[in-house]
Symmetry: C2
Subunit: 465 residues, 2 copies
């Protein structure tokens, strides 16, 4: 069986168009700090009429293949996680086949995986399992997470975002799975769903979804610890993880979630829990499960005692989710990419725990073990190639009015046919795909902005300034 299977390389793409949360707060007449402190968000990316989940994934895949010099013929599996439905039958994966058909490679397994923000994790697990299975043919797998998160006007709107992430999968990876340590929790709930088929917007019960998220986190952590302890013969606690990466609909929930794990270690009586934590959380040890999800005092106390640990183990993962917003399936991996960006080679030898959550609900906590790896599939090269700082720096801030106007146009365009876009790609970097037309048969056409993609690596040539 192939060994140390995992992620060899990653690429991230997010639209260059964004709106500042502080400006949006003011525009929406929300109280100051509601989005920036209340939600913990800084900025939000969004697709304009020339971008969508298909164009973003075309860009991310093409860029990954080019920048790591991977021959498209060497891809044997390609799968996509997304909850942004443009077609209910034809997968996004088939759109991506355009990249490979040019090279005569059509023997590529895999389709799209769907359950809210969890589809990318499902695709990732499937791809890793394929490499470990008897049907593996020795080629690379490719996993793509692509989503555009948009909400109707109202309190959920500032929790949008958009991005596509591509991950190359194979053996002897710098980012290897510790597959034996894994806990999942799946359940039938209606916390966030998309039953109104004609609308791009979800139906959301924000309060229920937050509780579901925290309950799923608790259960996954319980199973995860159980499996670790069964396999390793010793207790697991947060001290066994160097970094924890969370699915990040908004940063405040990530803060709460890490605090919740600390509370879990406290109630599990983990040896790593210090005396101050024991003292501060002691008063909450008699709460029932339900009470503990509702207690603001517990939330406050646990966040307080976990602050230093949060700064060390979680903060390095928060950059892109805070700057780009919720990216649904790409959200967890954008947090992981933030960690790669911030720490790159320092991560060699470290264990990273990830928590994936998709409403409805499906959730898994799993473990990765990192190594420096070999160029081009090394931690340092991955960080260089992705050029997160450059991509963030070269964005274009839209005033809230223009953002709202774009949302209105997009509502109108969702599910529509027989239109051409402005084809205005002036804000896009060279090498970016964009939507040009949807014909009378709903067929979608894309073009690629000319220019050398490698030229945008420093983030300044990208937009010509």
């Amino acid at each position: 069986m192939a060994k140390n299977v995992g992620i060899l390389a990653t690429e991230i793409y997010f639209p260059p168009t964004c709106v500042q949360q502080e400006a949006l707060e003011a525009h929406d007449g929300a109280s100051k700090g509601k989005y920036t402190i209340g939600l913990g968000q800084d900025c939000m990316a969004f697709c304009t009429e020339v971008e969508d989940v298909i164009s973003m994934s075309l860009t991310a895949v093409t860029s990954l293949l080019e920048k790591y010099k991977v021959d498209p013929k060497q891809i044997g599996r390609l799968e996509v996680g997304s909850e942004t439905v443009i077609d209910k039958s034809k997968s996004i994966k088939t759109f991506l086949m355009q990249i490979f058909e040019k090279y005569g490679n059509t023997d590529i397994e895999g389709v799209d995986s769907t359950n809210a923000c969890y589809g990318g994790t499902a695709a990732l697990f499937n791809c890793v399992n394929w490499v470990e299975s008897s049907s593996w043919d020795g080629r690379y797998g490719l996993v793509v997470c692509t989503d555009s998160a948009v909400y109707a006007e109202g309190p959920a709107r500032p929790t949008g975002g958009a991005a596509a992430i591509a991950m190359l999968i194979g053996p002897d990876a710098p980012i290897a799975f510790e597959s034996k340590f894994r806990g999942s929790h799946m359940s039938h709930v209606y916390d966030f769903y998309k039953p109104d088929l004609a609308s791009e917007y979800p139906v959301v019960d924000g309060k229920l979804s937050q509780t579901c998220y925290l309950m799923a986190l608790d259960t996954c952590y319980k199973y995860f610890c159980h499996k670790y302890e069964k396999s390793e013969g010793k207790q697991f606690s947060l001290s066994d993880a160097d970094y924890i990466v969370f699915h990040s609909p908004y940063n405040k929930l990530v803060q709460k979630s890490f605090a919740r794990l600390v509370f879990n270690d406290f109630t599990r009586n983990a040896s790593s829990v210090d005396d101050i934590t024991k003292e501060k959380l002691g008063p909450f040890s008699t709460l029932t499960g339900d009470e503990s999800y509702q207690s603001r005092d517990l939330e406050k106390a646990s966040q307080q005692v976990s602050k230093a640990l949060y700064d060390a183990k979680v903060r390095p993962t928060t950059l892109i989710p805070k700057q780009v917003g919720n990216m649904y399936t790409a959200s967890l991996y954008a947090a992981f990419v933030s960690l790669l960006h911030n720490k790159n080679s320092e991560l060699a030898g470290k264990r990273v725990i990830l928590f994936s959550y998709g409403s409805g609900l499906t959730s898994t906590m799993f473990s990765l073990r990192l190594h420096e790896g070999q160029h081009p599939f090394s931690l340092s090269n991955i960080a260089t190639v992705m050029n997160v700082a450059g991509k963030l720096k070269s964005r274009h801030e839209f005033p809230p009015e223009k953002f709202v106007e774009t949302m209105k146009l997009m509502e109108h365009r969702y599910g529509a046919k027989d239109f051409v876009t402005s084809k205005d790609c002036s804000l896009l970097s060279p090498g970016t795909y964009y939507l040009t037309e949807v014909d009378s048969m709903y067929r979608r056409f894309y073009a690629k902005k000319e220019g050398d993609c490698s030229a945008c690596e420093n983030g300044t040539v990208a937009n010509g300034h």
Copy 2:
């Protein structure tokens, strides 16, 4: 690594409500034989307002667990293939979690896989790979294919159908994968797709879709043969397969497809091709690929020379697809189930080749090797448990007018909220789930028809007559 991983058990459910194709022909004013001979179809099942893809899959999974006496706690992975979208974000898998949550089992990986009729195959491959991977925890996998195929009034309408199939996956299976023999062909085309999000009906280019299907078949067969020959050091031909199972949108395409494979063996100069075949197909050996897809003479000649082989290798797979119609993701597996029903224990030692096709497009040809197995996971018990003959016999024929009326109601209900159904389950067998209500928040509620499910195994008690 787990050995002989594959299908341990299967269960099929299709609605008891159906319309005869001969009656539909007359009703539609089509020429006599257009649906029955032209399409090769006998009858078509459809969901009434109390059934949908969720209720059918609840029924199939519950029935499989009960009839094979599988403890719901022993399921470690559950995934669904479907192209019938009721919710764009919340997976059908999460609805099925209701079955397992009752038993305290929520640690079950897997979500939904999507690409037209191929989603079930993707789910099946994923599940088999999981059992062979390092993340397998020793429990069973469960794969569900569930779809309701409905078309707008017009020529495609008689190619509908509905069914759910559940398959239990694990090692030492009577139906084991030969994973090294596999050829896929994936491509970006618009032959059949569902871009009109508010409508349940697809956009279909029937002629293009048929050509895409045959081209995909050719390419998959080419890759399949290549891999077989590389691995086994000898040529593959149809004589190396005991049965061939095709995705079956309508039977006529299955007849054409098998003839096409015979034509492939002829052009490949396979040693198994007899002199009569060589003589009859000789005149077509100079056709270009494109010409060969359009040539009615080739179609006729190849069907003629392949008739005896079709009767031996394909006809035993056609019962359910002809009687129930196109079941999208379930279609290929309903054909395979027909073979299990017709041949059961005789299949021990046989090799079965399957061709899965999903428009858009994704396609794979793969190989299974069958063994009698151990009770309850034996070929003979699988055939007994599924009771295909009983299920077919106990159906209720609707006159075409009532079918059309049902379609109208279903159009109105698709994507709707805030309604209760008739809750009329008089036509359903005991143990069948049915839809009772969709509330003002689009939340769906189901009930299970009371009664002992085992009592309906002979197909007569089911509907009380």
